[in-house]
Amino acid sequence: MSPPRLTGALRSFSNVSKKEDVTEQLYDLKTKRLKRQELFAREGLTWQKIVHFCTEHQGKAKHQAVSQELKSLLLAAKQIVGSEHGQEIIESAAVFLFETFHNKDHVGTEETRAIKQMFGPFPSSAAEASCACVARILAPLEDSRVEDFIQNQSSRHNPQRGSMFGRNIAFSYESYTIDPLEDLPWSGIQEGNTSLDF
């Protein structure tokens, strides 16, 4: 809980700020994650594009093996998002895992964090499985070709936005700190004659 503050009193007792609407919906992490998944699903890369890319660049003999790996990736995605979700959400999660692991050989801290941020707590075995699947799917393909595909298709890697406002501003993190009177050592207060007069 925040300590008592002047601005808290002003918010409560003056008429110069917006009164908080207690009926307003307060969002929790679960709602936020769902919204994030929804936004991700609208971004450029789709499951269909991944399937097409992975199969068209590999010989027909390997199609079956690739299809099997893609199915395994979908299964791992289902374990991560939860089986109660529909095909669309599961495919979108598989896209996310494909993007996350396309240039990784193991599940590192960053990848774990990214998956948890998107889907919440998940079984680590599913992350391991999806990482291994993506590695096997992409092993026969040239790294540069995969990288081009991801860059071109994914808005996550290719944001169509301007540069961030304020990136060149020299920001100071300095803050106000306790600045007591210099000539008033703490030891002085024990003597009984000290006062804050100055």
Partner: protein, 411 residues
């Protein structure tokens, strides 16, 4: 994309809606807002257990991701989001309300990851407010100043409590650093405030409405300490057999801690605001803030000082901390009076304003008022005294020079 060289508030955009049809909307339109859901801010955990750290990081990461996204939006989309997304406004306001101040009792987070994340949120929130206070980002991206004033005021993007929070959270470092850069760069807290107040004079009215509440805060402290303030005495007759109010000496320890924290925060916030935005001094001055603060100092400080000194604290470090906070609060009250005297009396004298005599009289009146108040009489240390005297002398010299001239010119 909106058209160039036309203010955003006059632009129209043609977009394809979800059904594929084209439609034309004003550039600032609620339907152009993205559904994003900004999370409200939660301060770093006090204990920093692994689970609490993880929860804080996860929560804060959503905020940093979203604010980076916001700051990367083109000018028109940024303003649609800022004006129409309630969750964004709540997120920013929650940061101002709950972000730890340098003065808070709790120490800095012990986890480096938490500290780093807190710094990232801190910077991004400042940049978001800075962008919201900028009506002209570039030649192409701007809002008509009067409309900008209406937008920020009517949508409560800035209000007086928020402005005070901005000063106490960001004013220290950015004010000092950017004061030097002011000629080169307009991004600084005081320019941020100037933009806001210049484009929307209604903030001065709000400030005028707020000062009595600020004074009420000091009265509340007096009341909690069992000390009757002048206003309260006049309004409510004291009951002869009324219950005895607890005093600073007899109240429970937590109440004393809260009162000193409250005083510390209030005096620092007011001082930070007036220091960064001296134009506000006149609003405080018009409510007799100097005499009210002086009187508060004389009445409350001795009791608080005595109680911190004499009460038996189990935790001696808390006792020391409270003493330092009280001492800090006294310093801030004195510095606030300096600022008010400087900007409302002395500065006009030194600038040779037309009503110099009135300002000199008022300054002397303040000093006369300070004299019987034993403690605030020391509001002027040696350096300040000589500075003030210099100002007064210069004013008298100036008046002295004018007198003979006025006598030479008959009406």
């Amino acid at each position: 994309m909106a058209c160039a060289q036309v203010p955003l508030d006059e632009q129209q955009v043609t977009e394809r809606c979800s059904l594929g049809k084209e439609r034309t909307l004003s550039a600032l339109h609620p339907e152009r807002k993205e559904e994003r859901i900004f999370m409200p801010y939660k301060p770093p955990p006090e204990e920093c257990t692994p689970a609490e750290v993880e929860e804080f990081l996860e929560h804060a990461r959503f905020i940093t991701d979203d604010l980076e996204w916001l700051l990367g939006l083109p000018h028109d989309k940024f303003w649609c989001q800022v004006v129409f997304d309630e969750s964004l406004q709540r997120c920013l306001d929650s940061y101002l309300q709950h972000a730890p101040r340098g003065l808070d009792l709790t120490a800095l987070p012990s986890s480096p990851a938490v500290a780093d994340m807190q710094r990232s949120v801190h910077r991004l929130v400042f940049l978001a407010f800075l962008r919201m206070a900028t009506h002209k980002e570039s030649k192409e991206n701007f809002i008509t100043p009067a409309v900008f004033g209406e937008i920020i005021y009517n949508n409560f993007l800035f209000d007086i409590p928020k402005i005070l929070d901005l000063c106490v959270l960001f004013g220290k470092g950015n004010s000092q650093l950017l004061h030097k850069m002011i000629a080169l760069c307009k991004f600084c807290t005081n320019v941020l405030l100037e933009n806001i107040f210049t484009q929307q004079p209604s903030y001065y009215n709000d400030l005028d409405e707020t000062v009595p509440t600020v004074l009420q805060v000091f009265d509340t402290v007096l009341e909690k300490c069992g000390l009757r303030c002048e206003g309260a005495t006049a309004m409510q007759p004291m009951k002869l057999n009324g219950h005895k109010q607890p005093t600073a000496m007899t109240m429970n320890q937590q109440d004393l801690v809260d009162i000193i924290l409250y005083l510390c925060d209030s005096t620092t916030t007011i001082h930070a605001f007036l220091d960064i935005f001296p134009a506000a001094c006149s609003s405080f001055h018009s409510h007799s803030f100097i005499s009210r603060l002086t009187s508060f100092y004389e009445t409350a400080v001795p009791d608080l000082e005595l109680s911190v000194r004499k009460r038996n604290f189990d935790d001696k470090s808390l006792q020391e901390d409270l003493w330092q906070r009280l001492s800090h609060s006294c310093r801030k009250m004195v510095e606030t009076v300096h600022l008010l005297l400087h900007h409302t009396c002395l500065q006009p004298i030194l600038e040779g304003s037309e009503n110099m005599q009135t300002f000199a009289d008022e300054l002397l009146q303040h000093f006369t008022y300070f004299l019987p108040e034993k403690r605030p009489a020391s509001f002027s240390d040696e350096t300040r005294t000589s500075y003030l005297l210099q100002g007064v002398e210069s004013a008298w010299d100036s008046v002295g020079r004018r007198k003979p001239q006025s006598q030479l010119q008959p009406n």
